[in-house]
């Protein structure tokens, strides 16, 4: 067993885990934060995307022990304490950017990461290119792209998520 401590959605967590525990397993099974999904487990679909020290990563392709000391934000860390949706979440709802919702946590974490890196004025081409690592089997992407565009604009005024969560 190996000791890990990290900050998840602003809270310090410590645990003893087997070194082979994936970050996504740790998040879902130890911390019971089941918003982060496993769609493929082979690094393709992006349903498992979380932010590690402010950067979007696939939590199915990381060991929990590799994230010792890191600050993690999951989909549960986006909404306000009173339940107010993050602007990107609100945009997905408004634009019908989801159907079954399985890919959505990863889509939203990726979308927020795109805004953190590229700013809030995103054109359609950029959004499509940047969503390369996220697969949706339902929507056909059009509404996701619209949601990201709107959510990005709405985020313009608000603080980037990595600071908000730290």
């Amino acid at each position: 067993m190996a000791a890990v401590s990290m900050t998840v959605n602003g809270k310090a967590v410590t645990a003893d885990v087997e070194p082979r525990t994936l970050l996504v397993q740790f998040i879902r099974e130890n911390l019971k934060l089941t918003g982060t999904h496993v769609g493929c487990d082979t690094s393709q679909c992006g349903a498992c995307v979380v932010h590690v020290d402010g950067k979007a990563m696939k939590s199915c392709t990381l060991l929990a022990v590799q994230c010792n000391g890191a600050s993690i934000v999951t989909i549960e860390g986006l909404a306000g304490a009173d339940g107010t949706l993050h602007p990107m979440q609100a945009a997905f709802r408004e634009h019908h950017g989801l159907q079954c919702g399985f890919c959505t946590p990863g889509m939203i974490m990726s979308a927020v990461d795109i805004v953190n890196r590229k700013g809030s004025d995103l054109d359609e081409h950029t959004i499509r290119e940047e969503l390369e690592g996220n697969i949706c089997r339902c929507t056909g992407y059009h509404n996701i792209v619209r949601a990201v565009e709107t959510g990005a604009k709405a985020m313009a005024g608000s603080a980037p998520v990595r600071q908000a969560a730290e």
Binding site: R20, S43, V52, A56, M57, K58, T61, L63, I114, G133
Partner: protein, 267 residues
Amino acid sequence: MYAFTYHRPDTVRQAAGLLARKDDAKIIAGGHTLLPTMKQRLASPGALVDLGGVPELKGIERKGRGLIIGAMMTHAEVAESAAVQEAIPGLAALAANIGDPHVRHRGTIGGSIANNDPAADYPAACIAMGAIIVTNKRKIPAEDFFQGMFGTALEEGEIVTKVAFGIPSRSAYAKFRNPASRYALVGVYVAKRGGEVRVAVTGAGASGVFRWTAAEEALKKRFAPKSLEGVKADPSGLNSDIHADAEYRAHLINVMARRAVEAALGK
């Protein structure tokens, strides 16, 4: 994934010590090839030595006519580095198109090179620019380093620490991605430095990255896409699979090489 012990050294020395002491230990850099391989149980190391906490493997430095990149620099860091963009924009663009954004936040140049996947992008850049692969033991010219699919000159316990590129006057990479896996079906890096031109091809060769010398000769006479008209890549020795046969790959090599020259000329 089978169980293993996990070690996180602070220095290259410690890492080398761990590799020497532990039987059946493997280095983990970004882990974006190793972990999927372990999940499929195609690899089952008894110990992982994580280079993620070794500061001396980070950093990018311009030294005269060379650009030195630390082995643990991620694809995103290389792509976004002002030093890389200025010295070798073709390399920054290559890094910006590896995998997807999440993979680029994690995958590293050292890991990509040490793995030498026959469809990886970096090996083509290393060969085309005559890079030197620096390890904790020695300096290895790229052409000696890459030895066929997944094969390298690395010895047991040897750790890639840096990659040193000679800065070309012009260079660019063009790739044709497999639409499903997004790996290079064919990728071509073209680099010109003074009168010297090198063309390196990845994704296509049955034994990994190789130089396309006929194109180099043609481009030495005149560095323009037109020079490659009628220069055919030899399909023997190229991969044929469900994604593309050797003839098609040979055709794509010419097309990608012309696109790379065009991009290198800034057109």
